[in-house]
């Protein structure tokens, strides 16, 4: 097996865009029998690329965009999403999901978990979860990071109950968004696009029945580096192509690599590609300039995340087959 070439993730962007658009049109019209596509625009590169591909597949008149901000969304996200909708001529609507989240107790349940760790956590404080350990062979665990207004960051390891409650409460955000996407899809007789890239899809970085739910996922086969290449080719605004990926889910800015992935996306892409192509850990280590042991940990972490999130992809398990629907 040869060592890693620097351009393993290079794609022919035009060929890729044409192929996806062609398949997408066939999936919507022939397989799903819907009249168009609903896309939630987050202002990030994945949903922007999906929107551009949807327009190329079915035309701008058959794509409906949704912006679904809440209390912790960055204002920049909405500005960028509107930019994309305008550029590609997509009809769109902004729906503030904060009242729905408030009614469900999303913020209250989250804050209750935070106060169990930081009792003085107040209304105007900011917070996020950060991943720790993992990379050097230590266990992955999660730290709660909070910041009082004008104060310094404070952090503490989260006990399991508080960690799970905070994640569970926060998952309301992705699930409420998906409910609204399906409301508009049902209203228009459209299908819903899911926007995961390959890293997210493979490593299970999505909420089941939240952003994981969709009728079609047009870029799930593309590494994040390739999504950026496609974004540049499709003319997505530069500020979106150049922004570092964040979750836009917590009130403190949270990089995706800070929450979930062991490495920044460009390195994570190469590591995942290498794992998928049977590249020995020694070659990955040489490519990154790290110790072989560290490369082995990266491969182990990839496997562990795949295993831990397999159930997120699974259809509900049945006790016995139900033919002819589930033979």
């Amino acid at each position: 097996m040869s060592a890693l070439a620097p351009d393993v993730l290079a794609i022919d962007a035009e060929a890729q865009a044409s192929r996806i658009a062609e398949r997408l049109a066939a999936i919507v019209g022939r397989d799903l029998r819907r009249r168009g596509l609903v896309i939630a625009l987050s202002g990030g590169v994945d949903s922007s690329v999906c929107a551009a591909l949807a327009v190329r597949a079915v035309g701008p008149g058959k794509v409906f965009g949704l912006m679904l901000p809440e209390r912790d969304s960055s204002p920049q996200s909405l500005t960028r999403a509107k930019l994309v909708a305008a550029q590609f001529g997509i009809a769109h609507e902004v729906e503030d999901i904060a009242p729905a989240l408030e009614a469900l107790g999303c913020y209250r349940r989250r804050d209750e978990a935070i106060r169990a760790v930081f009792p003085d956590y107040g209304e105007l404080w900011k917070s996020k979860i950060a991943i720790a350990g993992g990379r050097e062979g230590a266990f992955n665990y999660f730290k709660l990071v909070v910041q009082p207004p004008g104060g310094a960051l404070r952090e503490a390891r989260m006990p399991v109950r508080e960690y799970l409650q905070m994640v569970a409460a926060t998952n309301f955000k992705q699930r409420i968004r998906k409910m609204l996407e399906y409301y508009h899809a049902d209203r228009l007789n459209y299908a819903v696009i899911g926007t995961p890239n390959r890293l997210e899809y493979d490593q299970g970085f999505f909420v089941k029945n939240g952003d994981g739910a969709a009728d079609v996922k047009p870029i799930a086969h593309l590494y994040k580096t390739q999504v950026y290449a496609l974004a540049r080719h499709l003319g997505i605004p530069a500020e979106i192509c150049e922004a570092a990926p964040t979750t836009d889910t917590y009130s403190l800015v949270q990089g995706q690599d800070e929450f979930y992935f062991a490495l920044p996306y460009d390195r994570m892409d190469v590591a995942l590609w290498a794992a998928n192509h049977g590249i020995p850990a020694a070659d990955l280590a040489a490519h990154f300039g790290i110790a072989v042991r560290e490369a082995e940990f990266i491969y182990k972490d990839i496997d562990a995340k795949r295993r831990a999130t397999r159930y997120l992809h699974a259809a509900p398990a049945l006790i016995e087959p139900v033919p002819p629907v589930a033979p």
Binding site: A132, G133, G134, G137, A138, F139, N140, Y141, F142, R157, M158, P159, V160, R161, Y163, L164, A304, R307, A308
Partner: protein
Amino acid sequence: MQDVKQAVRQFLLDNFAMGGGVTIADDTSFMEAHILDSTGFIELITYIEETFGLAVDDEEMLPENFDSLANIEGYVARKRAQAPAA
């Protein structure tokens, strides 16, 4: 004196091996045997802290302390040996 290995083994069997078919030897790696994922390890750490009255430090979150019954027994013994001085 509480048998650390037996208590932890029972905790794992009750919570992470429902449906049966799992045996946990003293040196079984929970990671290698796929008994625990990362959330499972956080649950295990919380259980150990609450059951044995210990505070696990961040830098102690290592396989050599928690990835088998024997490792946990050794870790708990070391922490208990430190405790009276604290």
